[in-house]
């Protein structure tokens, strides 16, 4: 929106300053994450989390070119045409959906990491439950009521919200643009947001307005209470001040809900708000039907969604660059689950399991982590993409590499040790480390099994470096069947027998993990 329009559409000065371009801004309090950020040498890093609500069809977002035939045969009615898949520089095994030219360019500019098959053991296929799992960082059989970011923030800011804001922490610690406070920011005692910036300050995103005040006594009282609510927003001044410093921004695509939210984020970041965590979201990804057009599968509903995300992120990065704030920002996309390998008869896909995540930023390491998903030759409706990386590893990696959080603090937040994935350049936290080549060559088998297919038993062989080594066995629903190996090894080659005589026939995945390295081996049990 042009500045002139913005000013025209702002009411007199008493209007909530959090009415930025029509969005309410929910300010959170200081979370432990933010504390750690401050502690780490004036770290002004920002993480922008982009939630794709509904379950994004990852297999059509990052298309496996090295398994194209199997891919095409599994979802013929919606498979993206091979020639239209966007190529990534220096990488041939997979490419992007044709509508994601913005992300392609960012990747080729060296600013994107794509993480393949992010999920968790025994995934849940229900929107509600799966969303909660991603936001709280829980195991799938565990119910947590605090958010992963909330827990982090409160280990760093015990006693919040008492005493906030203060001289050292004048700005909100986390900000959600547009909606209610995400459960991701929920702490034990409070949302790591200010109690007063609860829904009283919320302006309905659809219209950017509160319900109008009727011309009655009740309306008069309502108006009075809202006025008080505005005044009690302690962070209002801070947000207003930051927003006022940015008087022009780059172009953002019109009619793009995500872009509008990101535009506000860019403005606050560039305006100097010390807020470190932002959450934005966009929906419509529950594409059970008609996700692609019959005549041209590169077009259709899913294409529009992905195109919107790509353009929004692209505009956001360009704007940040123009505002000289791009080095401070890392963004990530996530969704509550991916979708089924095999498409359905309605030209859509049903709920699935693991899916790729996109992480972007100036300091993000260019690359694709993991292999293309394993696709059965004759896939059935029961087949799901097995996880290669646990989503909590992504959180752990961002916390440690971008926010410079210590490993023991990570344990408190995420409850377990998770793999560190090389997402951020070591320069970010002032730590230069050698980045291991964690995605092994396809022909270098770190884990194999023989015989394959097998009837009752199969011998699994793995090659590990030093350190903790884990082998997990998943079924096609992603259910964790067993963990035959999980201990510290000396480097070498090891074997064990996997007894599947009690299990039904079908595909199983043996996932090998050693440090930052992982590999998934598909195994087939037959009669």
């Amino acid at each position: 929106m042009k500045r002139r329009d913005f000013l025209k559409y702002t009411a007199p000065a008493t209007v909530l300053p959090t009415l930025l371009g029509g969005f309410s801004v929910k300010a959170f309090g200081s979370t432990p994450l933010l504390q750690a950020l401050s502690a780490a040498a004036d770290n002004d890093h920002v993480l922008v989390m982009i939630q794709l609500t509904g379950g994004n069809d990852g297999l059509n977002m990052v298309i496996p070119l090295d398994k194209y035939a199997a891919y095409q045969s599994a979802r013929t009615n919606i498979a993206i045409q091979e020639g239209k898949v966007l190529r990534l520089e220096g990488y041939t095994k997979a490419g992007l959906h044709p509508s994601m030219t913005g992300i392609q360019k960012l990747y080729n500019d060296g600013k994107v990491s794509i993480i393949q098959s992010v999920g968790y053991p025994s995934p849940n296929f229900s929107h509600f439950r799966a969303t909660d799992i991603w936001l709280t960082g829980s195991d799938s059989n565990q119910v947590l009521t605090t958010g992963w970011a909330g827990r982090y923030l409160e280990t760093q800011h015990p006693g919040f919200p008492n005493g906030y804001p203060n001289a050292d922490n004048p700005d909100p610690l986390a900000v959600q643009i547009g909606s209610i406070v995400s459960p991701a920011f929920q702490g034990t005692d409070a949302s790591m947001g200010i109690a007063i910036t609860s829904a009283t300050d919320f302006y309905n995103l659809i219209d950017g307005v509160l319900d109008p005040v009727p011309n009655t006594k009740a309306g008069k009282e309502l108006e009075y209470i809202r006025l008080i609510a505005k005044q009690t927003n302690s962070y209002e001044q801070a947000i207003k001040k930051a927003a006022a410093k940015v008087t022009s921004q780059g172009d953002y695509p019109a009619n793009n809900y995500l872009a509008a939210q990101l535009k506000i984020v860019a403005r606050l970041v560039a305006g100097g708000l010390k807020t470190r965590l932002y959450m934005v979201s966009t929906g419509g990804f529950d594409t059970h039907a008609s996700q692609a057009e019959a005549g041209d599968t590169s077009k259709g509903a899913h294409a529009k969604l992905l195109g919107g995300v790509s353009e929004a992120i692209s505009a956001f990065m360009a704007d940040l660059r123009g505002l000289k704030a791009s080095r401070r920002v890392v963004g990530m996309t996530f969704s509550e689950f991916g979708r089924r390998i095999k498409s359905n008869g309605s030209m859509g896909t049903d709920h699935g399991a693991a899916a790729p995540m996109i992480v972007f930023g100036d300091y993000v390491m260019q690359g694709v982590l993991g292999n293309t998903p394993s696709i059965p030759d004759a896939s059935s409706v029961n087949d799901n993409i097995p996880m290669q990386y646990d989503f909590r590893s992504v959180y752990a990696s961002l916390l440690q590499q971008w926010f410079c959080v210590k490993p023991d603090e990570l344990q408190t937040v995420l409850q377990k040790d998770y793999q560190q994935l090389p997402l951020i350049s070591g320069v970010a936290c002032g730590v230069i480390t050698g980045i291991p080549d964690i995605t092994p060559d396809e022909d270098k088998h770190l884990i194999i099994n023989s015989p394959n297919p097998f009837t009752d038993r199969t011998t699994i062989t793995y090659i590990t470096g030093a350190g903790n080594t884990m082998v997990q066995i998943f079924d096609t629903m992603g259910r964790l069947v067993s963990v035959p190996v999980n201990k510290v090894h000396a480097p070498g080659t090891y074997t064990f027998t996997f007894d599947a005589s009690y299990l039904p026939t079908g595909i199983y995945y043996a996932r090998f993990q050693n440090g930052a390295v992982q590999q998934v081996r598909p195994m087939l049990k037959v009669r």
């Binding site: 005692d189 307005v209 319900d211 009740a218 309306g219 009282e221 209470i225």
Partner: protein, 541 residues
């Protein structure tokens, strides 16, 4: 609605605010539609919060039946008990202290805390009647403060006095309060002696308790002095927690009143008959038409709205005062006229009262049927913390700030807006946020949103769930935009199909002990009700 429309409303807060629409309705009996809206309006004003069960009970009644039910006099309560342990006069745990000897300083503090906690418990467990709210009304009118009275037994007796007369006769109540030991202490009545009459109570009797100090109230300083002399000699019988009359301390001279009181004279009486001068005094005062008007205005401000314009004064206050006066100051008759009037049920008078802190705090516990612990000592602790919460929001039940009561009920020009400021509004949100959270409020008190939703007609349908919830929790209507937002963004957490909620709810109902099924609906209902209670609309009654 589009942005432009919103912005054209903003000027309402500019220098010259357009006045809210006026009404000229009076106290003619209401004959308009009788349904959910009217029932909720009536209950929200006369009770502390309205639960789905309350609504269900009244839904089968017509207007008169509902009002009759609400005006039903309640029996004496079960008194507070020792919940605090050591008692300096030996009252055991669980036994009542209300007629025990006065305790030492610590015991009296414990008993007064016990009393305040117990009072909140009375409100939480109130019957479906206006009776308990009337006690609070009278407490705000005939103010005493525990911090001044400092005698737990007098304070409980004071409560009993108000309770027994709350829906009875105002003149009788005034007499009872004049002789109430707590009041005798509070306004020095028990020190009032001939030769040096103490005017404290005398002044308040006119200024605050009967004729008020409006433009039509013209009592004089001489009236105050005369009244003080009438009231000389009353003392407290500490053993029986009642008043006595000390004839030797009574001024037996005649007392002359002003033209405002028709120049009446009270003949001084000697001996025990001197005590009956109080009756003469009250006859004189209550003959003054302004008494009925003053009390009716107070009732109006407490139950309808703070603003009394010329139309309301003429169409509502005056005729209501006539009824009050001609009934011999019968409170129930007058309330009946008010609560069955077209003015009371005028839609322009809906949703415009800001909930007092006690209304707000007690209301949320009642509306959501928050469960209290089984053992009484912990229950008292729960009630105590609720009492403190309301006190931090500026309404300390048992201790109004001064003899005029809480300023929300009388202070021009803001009146009930004084309940809401940059300090108290966040506290209201903090209470409801805590109650709806997983951790809950103190002593593990929490809202079970599934139990609430289950009482609604169709909780599996997200549209109906939200609509029915808003009907009960709000008095002011909200737009379809907001309802859609509540459904799509909160209940469906960004999903686009209503059946996701329906499936989740049905799965929970079939498997209430399944942790994941429960969590799915719990998280979303928590977010929904939290949001609803955090909006400014929830502050209105």
């Amino acid at each position: 609605m589009d942005r432009r429309q919103f912005l054209t409303l903003s000027p309402a807060r500019s220098a010259i605010a357009p006045k809210a629409a006026r009404t000229t309705t009076g106290i003619a009996p209401y004959s308009g539609p009788w349904g959910k809206q009217q029932i909720l309006h009536l209950l929200k004003r006369t009770m502390f919060g309205v639960s789905p069960a309350d609504l269900a009970t009244f839904s089968s009644m017509n207007m008169q039946q509902a009002v009759d039910t609400l005006l039903t006099v309640q029996p004496d309560p079960q008194p507070p008990v020792n919940n605090y342990g050591t008692d300096s006069t030996g009252v055991p745990l669980g036994a009542t202290w209300v007629r025990a000897p006065k305790g030492d300083v610590d015991t009296e503090n414990d008993r007064i805390t016990s009393y305040k906690s117990w009072w909140i418990g009375q409100l939480i467990n109130q019957p479906r009647s206006i009776h308990d709210k009337m006690v609070v009304f009278w407490h705000n009118h005939f103010v005493t403060e525990t911090i001044t009275v400092q005698d737990s037994r007098y304070l409980y007796q004071n409560y009993l006095t108000m309770h027994r007369h709350a829906l009875g006769n105002f003149k009788a109540l005034t007499k009872a309060i004049t002789l109430d030991p707590a009041m005798l202490v509070y306004l020095n009545g028990y020190l009032n002696s001939k030769g040096a009459a103490d005017e404290n109570y005398a002044r308040e009797l006119h200024e605050l308790f009967t004729v008020g100090k409006g433009p039509d109230s013209k009592y004089t300083e001489d009236d105050v002095k005369a009244t003080a002399r009438v009231l000389t000699g009353f003392r407290i019988d500490d053993a029986n927690i009642t008043s006595t009359f000390n004839t030797t301390q009574h001024d037996i001279e005649n007392k002359q009143f002003s033209a405002f009181y028709s120049n009446k004279v009270i003949s001084g009486k000697t001996g025990p008959a001197g005590a009956t001068e109080l009756d003469d005094l009250l006859n004189i005062i209550f003959a003054q038409p302004e008494v009925a008007k003053f009390i009716c205005r107070k009732l109006y401000r407490f139950f309808v709205y703070y603003e009394i314009d010329a139309a309301t004064e003429q169409n509502v206050i005056a005729p209501l005062a006539d009824i009050f006066r001609s009934s011999g100051y019968d409170i129930k008759t007058t309330l009946n006229a008010l609560f069955t009037s077209e003015h009371f049920f005028d839609p322009l008078n809906y949703a415009c009262l800001i909930k007092s802190p006690v209304d707000f705090c007690v209301g949320v516990f009642r509306e959501f049927n928050v469960q209290f612990p089984a053992d009484y000592t912990t229950r008292y602790e729960c009630w105590k913390v609720i009492h403190s919460t309301a006190a931090y929001m500026l309404q300390n039940l048992g201790d109004p700030p001064l003899v005029a009561g809480w300023d929300a009920y009388y202070q021009e020009p803001s009146f009930h807006e004084l309940w809401i400021n940059t300090d108290t509004l966040p506290k209201r949100n903090m209470l409801t946020d805590a109650l709806i959270s997983d951790r809950g409020f103190n002593f593990n008190m929490f809202i079970d949103p599934m139990a609430f939703a289950a009482q609604l007609p169709n909780p599996g349908n997200p549209v109906a769930l939200i609509s029915d919830s808003l009907d009960i929790l709000y008095r002011i209507g909200v737009s379809d935009n907001l309802k859609t937002f509540l459904k799509d963004t909160i209940l469906l957490t960004g999903q686009t199909q209503d059946y996701y909620w329906t499936n989740a709810w049905q799965l929970y109902v079939s498997n209430p002990n399944d942790m994941q099924a429960r969590s799915d609906v719990h998280i979303r209902l928590q977010a929904l009700y939290k949001y609803i209670m955090d909006l400014s609309e929830y502050q209105l009654s």
